[in-house]
């Protein structure tokens, strides 16, 4: 087994708000091997973006460890952090709000090079220009767009700017925060293919955040399912799709439209609303919506347990759930 490039242990991020403390991320642990992709899947508001941001320290984690290539990101000082930011990058969810509207395409892509003072002295202007053009080629932005403004471009091209910015410093690891969810379906596939190609050619490690399981289906190596700030299931992709075990994952999977028409695959509807992550009671977080819930589930929060090799589930009644799975 290869060594993990990133190891996250018990990561927590609480937001203090007027309504109470929001447990946006509440004890998330996982690790990723070099060159692999971990998909993080979950409903809107379950803390996916916050997890990604906390890993990069764009928000200060409340607690926990993030070890990237042996360095604890959460304890890095300013200098270490700026070095880490070259290796760890992020592509944002919304390509419309994540680029500065006052800057041109070339200025946006050059910014990481300028900010980090990669090229110095005479000729640096030329070097930056060359690098920007090279990056534009890499992400498939036509060179004629060099001086365009973001508002002149569609979402897909804007997202390509975001990707070029992330790539500018030759990172090793990128958090892709729902990079296609704001795009037209026709463009989604293009961007996904681009990211896949980039991963292969540049040996990138990805965390791929999405609320749509079908997006990570042929992309991720491993999938972590997130619910209200914590992971409820984690398994290699095929394993997860073939044997989803957590009641929440099962519900998520049954919500994916399946092309062929089968009769017995009825959709398991999730009852009720997502509980808000404020002042949660000490019970299984999925309790109020789970169709398997019983008294047992009210006694504390279930931890992730390995039920099959590499397959972790956080559910107290996992054996009953699996029994039922066999019966169907």
């Amino acid at each position: 087994m290869q060594e993990a490039i990133l190891k996250v242990t018990n990561l927590k991020k609480y937001f203090k708000t007027k309504k109470g403390t929001v447990h946006a991320v509440d004890g998330v642990s996982f690790s990723i091997e070099k060159g692999k992709t971990l998909g993080i899947v979950g409903e809107s508001g379950c803390g996916k973006s916050t997890t990604g941001r906390a890993i990069l320290r764009l928000v200060e984690p409340t607690d926990g460890e993030v070890i990237f290539e042996g360095i604890d990101v959460t304890k890095a000082d300013k200098k270490q952090l700026s070095a880490l930011r070259r290796d760890m990058q992020i592509v944002f969810q919304d390509p419309f709000s994540s680029v500065n509207p006052r800057m041109t395409v070339s200025q946006l892509i050059a910014e990481p090079l300028v900010v980090n003072k990669i090229y110095k002295g005479r000729g640096s202007k030329q070097q930056i220009e060359d690098r920007v053009l090279e990056l534009m080629d890499t992400v498939g932005l036509a060179r004629r767009l060099y001086n365009s403004y973001p508002h002149e471009l569609d979402g897909g091209r804007r997202q390509r700017i975001g990707i070029a910015r992330a790539l500018a410093m030759n990172p090793k690891f990128i958090v892709c925060d729902e990079p296609v969810s704001a795009l037209d379906v026709s463009i989604q596939a293009q961007i996904l293919n681009l990211m896949k190609e980039l991963q292969n050619s540049l040996q990138l490690t990805y965390i791929f955040i999405t609320h749509n399981l079908s997006v990570v289906n042929h992309f991720a190596d491993e999938i972590a399912v997130m619910y209200l700030g914590s992971l409820v299931e984690k398994a290699p992709v095929k394993e997860l799709f073939d044997h989803p075990m957590h009641p929440y994952t099962q519900a998520l999977l049954s919500a994916i439209p399946v092309p062929e028409i089968t009769e017995n695959e009825e959709e398991i509807l999730i009852k009720g609303e997502i509980t808000s992550p404020v002042n949660l009671p000490e019970e299984c977080r999925f309790y109020s919506r789970c169709s398997y819930a019983c008294e047992l589930c009210k006694k504390g929060r279930p931890e992730l347990q390995e039920v099959r090799p590499g397959h972790f589930v956080a559910c107290r009644r996992i054996h009953d759930v699996r029994m039922e799975e066999k019966r169907i």
């Binding site: 941001r53 990069l56 764009l58 700026s82 930011r85 070259r86 990058q89 992020i90 944002f92 969810q93 919304d94 709000s97 994540s98 680029v99 500065n100 509207p101 006052r102 041109t104 070339s106 200025q107 910014e111 990481p112 900010v115 980090n116 220009e129 060359d130 053009l133 060179r143 060099y146 001086n147 975001g162 910015r165 992330a166 500018a168 410093m169």
Partner: protein
């Protein structure tokens, strides 16, 4: 390798274009243009006052023979009870009003903008404490605050400017903070952070340019207000003292002659009114020209 044409579209060019667009918009506004011309003329007058009049003889020197002459061909604005030419006095006075207005606003900016920027950018408890203090300051009407400060500091031109400046700080702090907040939580700020930009870089490159327009407009309008306040304070004897020909002080000295020589009050009053009005016209014009929502 094909080079990209970058004829005029580098960043300086872009900024120039924007300034040009604002100027075009501004020029269309008749009132604003009149205001601008008058303001420019007043500035010219203030700068060249020493070449036109000699302070010792023309402005404060007495000439008892020519006392209380009504406006006419010899003395366009008439003379006062010491026989001083009111044209020279009022003209020279432009200097005081403009300097008081400009200095107090600049000082207010110098202190208020960093306060507002840091409060908006850092947020949290720092923001709360700073803004509470600013609020406490602003509960007192700014003219009362100024009076209080002049009383404490003593009356002089410098103290008057300091007092006006201090009462201007909260306004700039508040307006800066508000416009910082409108950009602060944009995702592109986070994106800049992610590529390794320092706070200093983010503030200077992203935040300040976004706050520039509202601050410029407010600064112009505030200059008008401060000129009025200064005149008012001089009028009640808390500002510049006679024989300095500050307009408020001139008004104050002339009020006892309002029946027999109303022109003594009329010209300083008119000067204050015209100055403040033209500065306000410029401010309003700037506001309209800079507001992208009003662009047709």
């Amino acid at each position: 390798m094909d080079r990209v044409e970058k004829s005029c579209k580098n960043s300086a060019g872009v900024r120039q274009n924007r300034a040009l667009a604002v100027w075009r918009q501004f020029r269309r506004n008749k009132g604003a243009m009149i205001g601008l011309i008058i303001t420019a003329a007043l500035i010219l007058l203030a700068v060249s006052a020493d070449f036109i009049w000699d302070y010792e003889t023309d402005v404060i020197g007495m000439n008892i023979a020519d006392r209380m002459i009504s406006p006419g061909t010899k003395y366009l604005f008439g003379t006062d009870n010491y026989g001083r030419d009111m044209l020279a006095r009022v003209g020279y006075g432009a200097r005081y009003s403009l300097v008081i207005g400009a200095v107090s606003v600049l000082f207010g900016l110098f202190v208020g903008v960093p306060i507002g920027t840091s409060a908006g950018y850092l947020g949290g408890r720092y923001d709360t404490i700073i803004m509470r203090m600013i609020d406490a300051f602003s509960i007192v009407p700014s003219i009362l605050l100024t009076i209080l400060m002049v009383t404490v500091l003593g009356t002089s031109l410098l103290n008057l400017m300091i007092a006006l400046a201090i009462s201007t700080i909260p306004i700039f702090a508040r307006i800066t903070r508000a416009s910082v907040l409108t950009v602060r939580y944009n995702e592109y700020i986070e994106s800049a952070k992610a590529i390794g930009a320092s706070d200093f870089y983010i503030i200077t490159k992203y935040i300040i340019p976004n706050c520039f327009s509202p601050i410029l407009v407010q600064a112009t309008l505030r200059m008008g207000t401060n000129i009025i306040s200064a005149a008012g304070l001089s009028y009640i004897g808390l500002g510049v003292a006679l024989p300095t020909p500050e307009w408020g002080a001139l008004l104050s000295a002339s009020k006892q002659f309002i029946i027999q020589a109303p022109y003594l009050c009329f010209f300083p009053g008119l000067a204050i009114m015209i100055t403040v009005m033209s500065i306000n016209l410029v401010g309003d014009g700037l506001r309209d020209a800079l507001d992208p929502k009003l662009k047709r």
